[in-house]
């Protein structure tokens, strides 16, 4: 195979973190090359350099043997390189067709926008990707998975020679994933080089010709993905053998901490896609990790939001008791005052101020405790922050660095640390390991075990069945805003949860959002 892309001795540094160091990367025409590594290993950075998003770097790039240095994404696109970003860069208010042809709209002879032709071509593109979507629908109305497919169709429409896919399947159902793989195979046979970034080993084994593992900004190994076991790959990624991903805490659970009795919320203005609690009962004892399972839209997030006091306004019925006392937090401040902490699902949008320092992000929930009369004692907040970073094994340069320079897993640790500094009795976690790499996942699980051992109660909502079974003592399954089953993980497995979550007569593959699960 001819070298379509040859990147040599690529280096890039963000603040105190060396994101890429002397990386050599080669992509052949008609090759699907998987890129693996923990979050923060340098995969995204390397690909941002190739796609022109990052323009300041060390080393050199050659396309078909010609040295290039892109001045920006448009420049790279002109050279035939297209990237499908993890963050979907679509305009919500515009239609699917408008998004696909954004910036290169098709024109009529009168130079006006040729809407009909754009819609027709968009439909063809989507058909090719095996998606049945009305190209006239606004993108904002689509599910995340559908949006992901639109970005893929868009990238394909660019007729790129090099296609970079950064976790393209994270929100796809398994049938959508299969269709995407068909598209990838078709592109491969027409000579397109594809870089495929993913955390999911089974996908890589299926679709990739070659796989390269990055760790700490350096290439660790390159191999044929069909010949290596998952365990070996994971070991290469984290640099140490992963014996037990899940440390099931065998702590004695104590007294009842949280009791939810027949909790319902009738929102004043119901929003489509939201499933507010409709008669949920459950308990969490101190020292216990209780999982919340359920399909997408079963109402897991909505339950946590109701408990934390951030659900939209409406009539709440039923009771919530914390240590036997009825509570009704009307907002995060009251919830925190009761000793309830919350780690939200989307850390970038609702967890962090990305351009503020690690320090500021860590202490923001516990500020009044550092100093008196509203004046901050800098030493105290610093000490607290360092202590927390130490406890969470945070990987960072300086406390003053912007939190956005950290990897996803370390960003998540900052959100955790912020909540722990409020010294909660109960932690509500919404998908705490989504988009977090294997190593950081293991550390978060270890931390949960420690917290439970200290008597904290944890309510953990997750789409990953292995995580729920591996980490939790008990799992409560939600369906349509109701609790439909409760299992002890000692004597139940993933299958039980899934069956309960789906009820009867539902399609298996739509379940759990196609999320692969921890290795």
């Amino acid at each position: 195979m001819a070298d379509l892309v040859r990147m040599a001795a690529i280096g890039k540094r963000y603040g105190g973190v060396q994101a890429c160091h002397e990386v050599d990367f080669v992509l052949g025409a008609g090759e699907v090359h998987a890129l693996l590594g923990e979050n923060g290993a340098g995969k995204s950075t390397l690909m941002k350099i190739l796609s022109g998003d990052v323009t300041e770097y060390a080393g050199s790039i050659a396309i078909n043997g010609t040295p290039v240095r892109f001045s920006g994404p448009t420049d790279a696109q002109a050279a035939g390189i297209a990237m499908i970003h993890q963050e979907l860069d679509l305009v919500p208010g515009l239609s699917v067709a408008d998004n696909i042809f954004l910036g290169r709209e098709l024109r009529t002879t009168l130079r006006t926008v040729d809407r009909r032709r754009m819609e027709r071509e968009a439909r063809e593109l989507l058909d090719r990707s095996g998606v049945s979507l009305d190209p006239r629908r606004p993108v904002g109305e689509l599910r995340v998975g559908e949006q992901q497919l639109v970005t893929i169709a868009k990238a394909i429409s660019l007729d790129a020679r090099v296609l970079i896919m950064d976790e393209p399947t994270s929100a796809l159902t398994s049938s959508e994933v299969e269709r995407l793989f068909d598209v990838i195979r078709e592109l491969r046979s027409s000579g397109v080089g594809i870089v495929y970034i993913s955390h999911r080993m089974e996908e890589i084994a299926k679709v990739a010709d070659r796989a390269t593992v990055l760790r700490n900004g350096k290439i660790v190994t390159s191999f044929d993905p069909r010949k290596l076991s998952t365990a070996e790959v994971v070991q290469a990624m984290v640099g140490r053998p992963v014996q037990t991903m899940f440390t099931t805490p065998d702590t004695d659970t104590g007294d009842e901490l949280l009791r939810v009795e027949n909790l319902s919320l009738k929102a004043r203005r119901p929003r489509p896609g939201r499933r507010d609690p409709d008669g949920i009962s459950l308990t969490v004892r101190s020292g216990e990790i209780v999982g919340l399972a359920g399909l997408l839209g079963a109402g897991r997030t909505e339950l946590l939001e109701t408990l934390y006091g951030v659900a939209p306004g409406g009539t709440r019925t039923g009771r919530v008791l914390l240590q036997g006392k009825p509570i009704r937090p009307r907002g995060p401040r009251q919830a925190l005052a009761h000793g309830i902490g919350f780690v939200p699902e989307d850390r970038r949008a609702s967890g962090l101020v990305l351009f503020h320092s690690i320090l500021a992000n860590t202490v923001v929930s516990s500020l009044p405790s550092y100093g008196r009369l509203g004046v901050i004692a800098r030493r105290m907040e610093r000490t607290a922050s360092v202590r927390m970073a130490d406890r969470l094994r945070l990987k960072f340069g300086r406390l003053q660095d912007e939190v956005g320079t950290l990897s996803g897993g370390n960003q998540q640790k900052v959100v955790f640390g912020r909540m722990l500094l409020t010294e909660p009795k109960l932690l509500l976690l919404d998908e705490p390991t989504r988009g977090v790499d294997v190593g950081a996942k293991a550390e978060i699980y270890r931390l949960l075990g420690e917290l439970a051992a200290q008597g904290l109660g944890v309510l953990l909502a997750s789409s990953e069945l292995p995580e729920l079974v591996g980490v939790c003592d008990r799992v409560v399954v939600l369906r349509d805003g109701r609790d439909v089953a409760s299992f002890s993980t000692a004597d139940s497995g993933e299958g039980d949860l899934l069956a309960a979550a789906m009820g009867q007569g539902e399609v298996f593959e739509e379940a759990f959002d196609g999320s692969g699960g921890a290795q």
């Binding site: 603040g15 105190g16 919830a335 101020v353 923001v364 929930s365 610093r382 990987k395």
Partner: protein
Amino acid sequence: MTDVQDKIPDGTVGAATPVAQSSGGVAATLFRFQSVFGLIAVFVAAIIFSPRKNGEILFVSADNLANVVRAVSEIGIIAVGMTFVILIGGIDLSVGAVLGLAAVGSAVLMVENDWGFLPSVVLVLAIGLVFGALQGVATAMIGIQSFIVTLAGLQIARGLARIWSGGQGVAIAYGDGPKEAPTSFALLGERTFGGLVPIPVIIFAVVAIAAVVFLRVSAFSRHLYAVGGNEKAARLSGVPVVRVKIAVFAICGLLASLAGIVHAVQLNQGSPNDGIGYELDAIAAVVIGGTSLAGGRGSVAGTVAGALLLGVLNNILALNNIDSNIQLLIKGLVIVAAAALQRLRPTS
């Protein structure tokens, strides 16, 4: 990377790694104090281009410098409040009108109603505070964008000023008789320290220093930056977002009315048309000072430098008898240049 990681267990995390410090450190500092360097540059240019009289550089004469700062003080006081509002990602278009309302209020209360100095000032300040707080309530609790709220607030404050003054400027004469303001009020317009430093300058300085210290040490300021940086994250973290917003608009209203009092005493009158367009000058000072209109990033020190920069510029152009229309052009270009420099700031 591994050595960074290894450092954590020793607890030496706080010690900055030399490598990390040097990378981008100089550039970051330059950008951080952009407005200060800008101010120095404009100051030096002012000395060079200053007209001279008998070999003396007019610009740096004590009298002229005092005038520069005095002229800046009103906009400066307003701009400090505006910085707070912009830091939470808002904007306050009402400050000029509130200044007018406060100027009218001072004049009417003291001259026409024969109120004493202290009650008048306290009432006028309270009006600004409440006016700002109400705007904060409208934006934080009802959720109307602050641009709209304060655009409405501008009209309302201007209307109130016209009603209160009867549509006329109210001249302030000093004395003990009826229809005369107490002489103690006139002191606010005097100079001190051997007749060198105007009192309005001291008021400005006190406000600015208080604001800088407040933003440095208070827990409230952390909340304020968090709200501007990511309101949703701030709320979920337990930051009292509504309270922060109301407080910030109240502070801005309070400072605008303080500037109105200073304005009245300097002009010896309160006119309902006072302060027209001041909100734009204040925003300009904040922008030149490097505060991001998107919120969450910026400083009062920058704003002070920005206000002084505009003041020096105005002064040197006036000293050289540059046509006032040309002055506007030059000011506009300076604002664009400052904003353009911001875009070059290294970010992650």
